[in-house]
Amino acid sequence: MLFSSVIFIGYFLPLVMLLHTWMPGRNLVLLTASLLFYAWSGPAFLLILLYYIVFNWLVGWCLAHFGRSRGLVATGIVGNLGPLLVWKYAGFIFAQVNALAGWSLLPVPEFALPLGISFFTFQGVSYIVDVYRGTVAAQRSILLFAMYKSMFPQLIAGPILRYRDIAARVEQRRTSALRWRHGIMLFIVGLSQKVLIANTVALPADQIFGLPPGQLTLATAWFGAVCYMVQIFFDFGGYSTMAIGLGHMLGFAFPANFNRPYTAQSITEFWRRWHMTLSSWFRDYVYIPLGGNRGGQARVARNLLVVFVLCGFWHGAAWTFLAWGLFHGVLLMLERGRLGRWMAAAWRPVRHLYLLLAVLLGWVLFRADSLPRAGEMLGAMLGLGVTAEPLLPVAAYAGWPVLAALGAAVACTVLRLPRGRGWVAGARAGAATPGLLLARDLASYGALLVLLVASLSTVASGSYNPFIYFRF
């Protein structure tokens, strides 16, 4: 069930919010709703989620009762990563072994990937390690732990919620009108980003990345890459924003996941702004345990490469993701050396241009179906292997709605939207008169309600699938 679907917005969300707000036992309501939410993507997958819940709770319980044991932590990590390896990577690994062997040495399994498994695997690891480190106390109630582990707003696409982030609110939390307002605002902003921007530019991005060989032009390749760059941020960022908004409506404060990443001045800064819960996870549970910034340059470079190879593979079992991770890892390494010193001295727009170009090229690797296809796209962006007479020119992909979505994306990226406390409470109220604050509120509310209606009509339009072809 996606947040931007009819079933979620039209049925699930109103019912769950109603029951969560007015029924007693709201943790049970939330747990039941979350399990239903997950089962919707495939009831059989629910067993996997239940395994993660029970397993992690048990390991946490054992750590709390039998003392901090390395063996238990190792068991916990293996028990979390094991199913991920099987479901997500076994097929890829077996296929590579077969390719190396030159014949079908191993049968390649074709498992359907359980939704969100990468997220709740990392969540499980963080829980066990945090309990082991004593950062957080193990949750005694399996029901409360299940509620945390399966909480639907963050279940399938993050933010990667660590138990310590919300431990205090699992048993005691308060929702207020202010929190509700903040939650609704974020939900609408996220929904609009996903539906009005990401989905609009997704169409040309998909079409261009799917063009047959020989149909790419220089302009088309660049346009496709830019559309994808916008799509992936507003799709994922929008989804995270919706999740955080839903969290507020339920009384939780989830950590932020994005902070205007395309305004960064370097790849190093980009990773402080992009998918922040994932990068901080890798920092805390991989990079620092590997040694972090300690040791010589070679050691740090190794640590960075390990982290980014893993980060690439976390996104998917394909060489393209590995290449993307390596690309970022190498750039980060370079930025720690001469490139970084040169960049520090460079003019600010040059630094920004470098970041945008580097990220854009990375996204081509990330999006392409295969490395050869990525090579074709990147080549076309350099003017290599392009056609002078494509079936459709770039203008065919750049209709007014797409251009408007790109314009909105630039505006959202460049403009500093009121965020967090400043927005919630009008914290800088001292600088404004009550009338001005009220006017600003009313303008925000009006704009958000318009965005909500426009987004709902777009979601509804997606359900409209006329069968007209037979007529023609």
């Binding site: 109103p14 009831p43 609704i184 169409l203 209709g399 509804a460």
Partner: protein, 397 residues
Amino acid sequence: MEKQQGGRARRVAQALFIGLAVLVIGLPFMAQMLGFNRWNPGENRAQAPVPALPATLAELEAWPAQLESALSDRFGLRSDLVGLHAQLLFRLFHSFAKPQVVLGAGDRLFYSWLDDGRPFTAMVRRMCGYGVSAAEQQGLATATATMLRAFQQDGLRLDMLVVPTSPVLYPAALPAWLRQRCTGTTLPTSAVLARLAPEERDRVAFPLDLLRNPALPMPSIALERFHWDGWAASMVAAWWAEDRHGLPRLRDLPTERVFQLSDLSGYFLGLELGSQVLEPRWPVPELARCQGVACFPGLEDVSGVLADVSRYHGPRPGAGRLLILSDSFGAEAAPWFARHYGDVWHFALNNLHELSSAQRERFRQAVLEAYRPDQVLVLVHDGNLFTFPTWLAQALR
């Protein structure tokens, strides 16, 4: 979470905002409960059924997706929201939700079906001929000639009428990026005509000059339509029957102008784009008309699948029998041919592939052997020249 500053007015505004947002989100659900969820027949498909509660594990696996489809077809205010989306796109961007339709100069609509999921490649290639190689042109000519000869072997006279579509008739009205692809190209139909032997070429009619004659009092294809209406169809039918085949006109059809929503309106539900179209004014003395499944006794199952079928019967001494095998351009044209024939049977074959081989054989026997037409007319639009001749030769031979 900090306290809000600014007093009572801001708190009231906040409460109002929360209330309105909750109302907007909850409105479709409430509307459905109250029964405001009319289904739009313009979608031309059956509403997804509400699934029964699952009884087996396999049913349980499939149940969420089935229920989601059912609810997606039934949520309250669905048509209104879809219409609102169409309105927003059209008013703000002169654009449509579905990529198959584009707005050109002078508010002319252009349509192209998706080819491998990609919009407008079908128009650019199949209608305008951009990027069609000489080898492909030769292939089309060979397929057309094969179809013409195939029917000849059965002693049937088969002619073909290829109707030019809007991009070919009005390339100047296309958006600039499409105009570049639709001007200065060799039209596939023209390429086929150039490659056919003279006796075969005489049997393929392509009324391009007739339909794009600037002296015509109105456009051959209305601004808001993909298909022609009675005005162009009657003109072409008369040209084909009288000028090309020397047939006498047996009767005239009284006509009327009526307002019709665009035949593309399924792509923009909620936008009332339409035009005045010319139609025969029924009933017509001494000409019986039948449309739909009941017109061909014994072939009801076939007609049910083909859906777009019609029959005209107006016997006159010496009047011949015409069989029209068409795409969706045939329905508008069929009655006008009844001015020159005593019997006209018309079948649109877009759903031909859905017939079983037994149904196809019965259909072939009924229309070719039992009806035994004096003339078979294959009537398609220019984009279908790439597929129809091959299909038809394979399916009915």
